[in-house]
């Protein structure tokens, strides 16, 4: 049975697309047939983050309007064999992304993919609503910052009340908290909400913590999802997230505490 997973947050700029790219890549690296869909019609960016922007010919609206087949619009990822990307339209009207059309596409994708990752646009307007409506599970991406936490709470309310699962009276959408841009040093100094604080406020299970890192910008510069980076804590953190999502509950929660530097490292002045 394939699963539809929405990556959502309410607030913009918290790391939805970064997460969608790395999460879907991680699922594919573990051998799962995965497709990641950009729902941000008019402001597509997943193609840039995945590094396939020059290979975009058709998009999701072309498919919805029946102008091309799904197969023609899907782009094979350059890093993972099992991963495909369905880009958003950059020019069309957002309203073209209707629920009936999206449902048709999702049903067709379910025939050949195990995981369907939906990268939601920011906000709570129709694009974000369409992205979350058919979800079985949700990654709620949250920064340790008041406006992000508040918006995540709002999104959780909408998932619980207005998603298809809620409307049809099925089991609720399974929610996962993903805290991104986390800085344990600032948490220790009392300058930043802790993971425990955020969990206590939002009351959903924690899937993972992604540390604040310079390498995220480097990854987007290069058009390579952060999970592929060498020797990067962000890559490690995303691999943990995917592992936990796939049921490996024994994985310890890393990057939550300040790393104690060894004497030698301090002596050499390593950061």
């Amino acid at each position: 049975m394939s699963k539809v997973i929405v990556v959502t947050s309410g607030k913009g700029g918290v790391g939805k697309t970064t997460t969608s790219a790395s999460f879907s890549s991680g699922l594919a690296l573990r051998g799962n047939k995965t497709v990641v869909i950009d729902f941000d019609v008019g402001l597509r960016n997943l193609d840039l983050i995945m590094g396939c922007e020059r290979r975009v010919v058709y998009d999701i609206i072309n498919v919805i309007n029946g102008e091309v087949s799904l197969k023609q619009a899907l782009i094979k990822d350059k890093n993972c064999d099992n991963l495909y990307i369905l880009p958003a339209s950059q020019t069309r009207d957002k309203e073209a992304l209707n629920l009936e059309g999206v449902e048709r596409i999702l049903n067709e994708l379910k025939e050949s993919f195990e995981y369907i990752v939906c990268d939601s646009p920011a906000g709570i307007e129709s694009g974000a609503f369409t992205a979350m409506y058919f979800a079985d599970e949700a990654l709620v991406v949250t920064n340790p910052e008041v406006s992000s936490v508040r918006d995540s709470d709002r999104i959780l309310g909408i998932l619980a009340a207005k998603s298809k699962r809620a409307v049809d009276g099925l089991d609720p959408v399974k929610e996962h908290l993903l805290v991104t841009r986390y800085d344990p040093k600032r948490v220790e100094a009392g300058e930043m909400l802790s993971v425990v604080d955020i969990q206590e406020i939002l009351r959903i299970p924690l899937l993972g913590v992604i540390p604040e890192s310079e390498s995220v910008l480097q990854a987007s510069n290069a058009g390579t999802p952060a999970i592929h980076l060498d020797k990067s804590d962000v890559a490690e953190a995303y691999r943990d997230v995917v592992g936990r999502f796939m049921g490996d509950e024994k994985l310890p929660m890393r990057f939550v505490n300040v790393e104690k530097k060894s004497f030698l490292k301090r002596l050499l002045g390593g950061r």
Partner: protein
């Protein structure tokens, strides 16, 4: 805060960390917003406030800011909270 006041408060160690402030503010505002969700919003509250104002104004002179009507959810119960601040003069008399 002046530098000296800041220093004193630092030495006393009673300055609240901003993360603590953030958490408290979020808990309050989200309790409020969650209460307004789910259940149909209590859209009668402004009207209720107006009518209460009118009744109280018959006996005491109060202004709009001194009356506060809130609906809160405590578990299964909805609690209607009225908060009326009487003018200073009145309090002195009583």
């Amino acid at each position: 805060m002046s530098m000296i006041a800041g220093l004193i408060s630092y030495l006393r160690g009673n300055e609240k960390k901003t993360a603590v402030v953030a958490k408290e503010r979020l808990q309050i505002i989200l309790a409020h917003e969650r209460a307004g969700r789910g259940a149909p919003a209590a859209d009668y509250l402004p009207a209720l406030q107006e009518e209460l104002m009118a009744v109280i104004a018959k006996y005491v002179h109060i202004d709009r800011e001194s009356i506060n009507v809130q609906l809160e959810k405590h578990g299964e119960y909805d609690v209607l909270e009225l908060n009326i601040t009487l003018p200073d003069k009145m309090r002195n008399i009583q």
